[in-house]
Amino acid sequence: MRMHRTLPMFAFWMFTFGIGAVSAEAPNLGKPISAADIAQWDIDIEPDGAGLPAGSGTSDQGASIFADQCAGCHGDGGKGATTTTSGAPAAPPVVSDMKRNGIDDTTLTIANYWPYATTLFDYIRRAMPWTSPRSLTDDQVYALTAYILAENKLIDGKQVIDAQTLPRVQMPNRNGFIVRFPERTPHD
């Protein structure tokens, strides 16, 4: 039906304005989809906490999950490891008291650099563990987030991390950035 309605109009525009003028004419073939059907893909977390799911976790809960699922690449306690056959670091440390050294990116850590704690939840849930991303429950992701924040002394070890508490975690380097090509700076 759509074709029959659109084609004569398409021909008219072609005739009148040439091909350039009809480039905005599109076939409108996108399929509507509901929020519920989007949910499984809708995984980005904003710095203000938008997108954070229900659930919660603590550092204690996170410690055993980390030992089980993360330490193989990130080392015991998240302090880094050299486990690849080439000797290249398998994965960066996620718990570190390293100081930044000049302009060297490789001395940047969660504790000394990341502006927002919400990024931890977002990244763990979307990309970790490396061999089986999206395999952790939301509670497990909260627990791992709490564990990494606590081990880095960014939160109290007893703090429950959830959708309300995570966006309120103050990261030390929050104001350490200069926006190079601004359209708008986030949450200032």
Binding site: A26, L29, G30
Partner: protein, 437 residues
């Protein structure tokens, strides 16, 4: 011979043997020929061998394959791999610019970075979702997108970490591929993102969008919405054929002039949002610590840059005479307006010929005739774009952005967005090495 020398001095346009570019173009072709004869003609060259038939001329050749790959004699024209045994980490492969010419990077050697392997995506099961601050969330299948009006453009894609080795306090000794191999240029064909956003409608609160991939890392970046309404494309074809798996098959986001990581491969989701999402990649990886302790964030544009691909490290000049200096210039802010070349480490400069076509945010091939006299030389190129930006010298760049305190591993990424002048030093033996000058 004396006439030839006079001709040389007339045509020399900058120090240490740089010749007027008419030696390459138009009527200059005749001049180049004359110079070539003067310098390397029959008086000093051994006579050619007698010609004979080779085996491949004496029996039928091979069958025609359905999809052709390069000759086995060109097997060195390949990418170098940072993670050949596929350990659980990011993999980079670098383009062999020293073995290529022109402005288009062939698909087989187009650089690839993947953060969790190259996904094997069935386009029949792939969906592109556009949602968030839109009037109507919509999904588009691959098949569906093929029905949309297409547009083509030639554009480079450069990793923000390309040339990171030049932050080293001493010049790293590797080739163009090792130093500058994380950039390539292709013709991209696809559907403009703005066309699809017309269909979904845009809520006026939307200021950014995020792009996200279907790869296992689910790579996600935030992009100002203005880019979506300007020149962002859902690219489906790369140099005329479906995208390569390492470059985003079946579809990727193309953001001309913006750092490679933002050009989301395996694109499956676009969400319009009020603020940047601050993904891992924009919170740490693609940021640039500065000497003053602060750091650049949202350094999107790959700024004006150039480097010489011939001659370059790894090649040896066999004898004094006429050579063509050739290289690549580009800018994420528009067309290249001018490239200057120096053969004396920046003491004197001459304007290179720009190979047509010169396109916005695409590779521009530059060429410069040079008579090597057999002595030391330091070759440099420096580009300007139509926006008025000059490629910085290394000294200018380091005064702003700093350099490392110690020599880093060859393939490390200690910082990003290096765009200063690169220098190649030629010694009396014709050996070419990376140098700081």
């Amino acid at each position: 011979m004396s006439r030839s020398r006079n001709k040389d001095s007339i045509d020399q346009v900058a120090g240490n043997g740089l010749l007027h570019r008419r030696a390459l173009l138009g009527r200059g072709l005749a001049i180049a020929g004359a110079l070539g004869t003067g310098a390397m003609g029959s008086p000093t060259s051994a006579a050619a061998e007698p010609l004979s038939e080779q085996d491949w001329s004496l029996s039928p050749g091979g069958p025609v394959p359905a999809y052709q790959t390069p000759s086995k004699f060109a097997k060195s024209v390949v990418r170098t791999l940072s993670n050949p045994s596929f350990e659980p980490r990011t993999s980079q492969s670098r383009t062999p610019h020293q073995l290529l010419d022109g402005m288009i990077t062939p698909n087989g050697v187009f650089f690839t970075i993947v953060h969790d392997g190259v996904p094997d995506i069935d386009p029949a099961a792939h969906q592109l979702l556009i949602h968030g601050l839109v009037k109507q969330p919509l999904t588009f299948s691959y098949e569906t997108l093929l029905r949309y009006p297409m547009t083509s453009r030639i554009a480079f894609i450069e990793c923000g970490g390309n040339s990171a080795g030049l932050f080293s306090p001493k010049p790293l000794q590797t080739d163009v591929q090792g130093l500058h191999g994380l950039i390539s240029c292709a013709e991209w064909t696809g559907v403009k993102l703005s066309t699809l956003l017309e269909e979904t409608g845009i809520d006026s609160k939307a200021k950014w969008f995020i792009g996200e991939g279907a790869d296992a890392a689910h790579v996600m970046r935030s992009v100002p919405l203005a880019k979506a309404l300007d020149d962002a494309m859902i690219a489906l074809y790369q140099n005329g054929e479906p995208l390569m798996p390492g470059n985003g098959y079946p579809m990727r986001l193309l953001l001309p002039g913006y750092e490679g990581n933002m050009n989301i491969k395996y694109l499956r989701r676009i969400k319009l949002v009020p603020e940047a999402a601050m993904s891992y990649w924009e919170s740490q990886i693609y940021t640039e610590p500065l000497p003053n302790g602060k750091a650049y964030q949202f350094y999107f544009v790959n700024e004006v840059k150039s480097f010489i691909t011939q001659p370059s490290p790894g090649c040896t000049l066999q004898q004094p005479g006429l050579y063509e200096i050739s290289g690549i210039a580009y800018s994420g802010k528009g067309r290249i307006s001018k490239v200057l070349v120096s053969a004396d480490g920046g003491q004197s400069w001459a304007e290179a010929a720009l190979q047509e076509p010169v396109l916005s945010m695409a590779f521009t091939r530059f060429r410069m005739p040079w008579r090597w006299n057999g002595g030391p030389a330091v070759l440099q190129s420096r580009a300007w774009d139509e926006d008025g930006n000059a490629q910085p010298t290394r000294a200018e760049f380091v005064s702003q952005r700093g350099e490392l305190t110690s020599v880093p591993p060859l393939l490390a990424f200690e910082n990003h967005h290096f765009n200063a002048v690169t220098s190649w030093a030629v010694d009396e033996k014709g050996t070419v090495k990376h140098a700081y000058a």
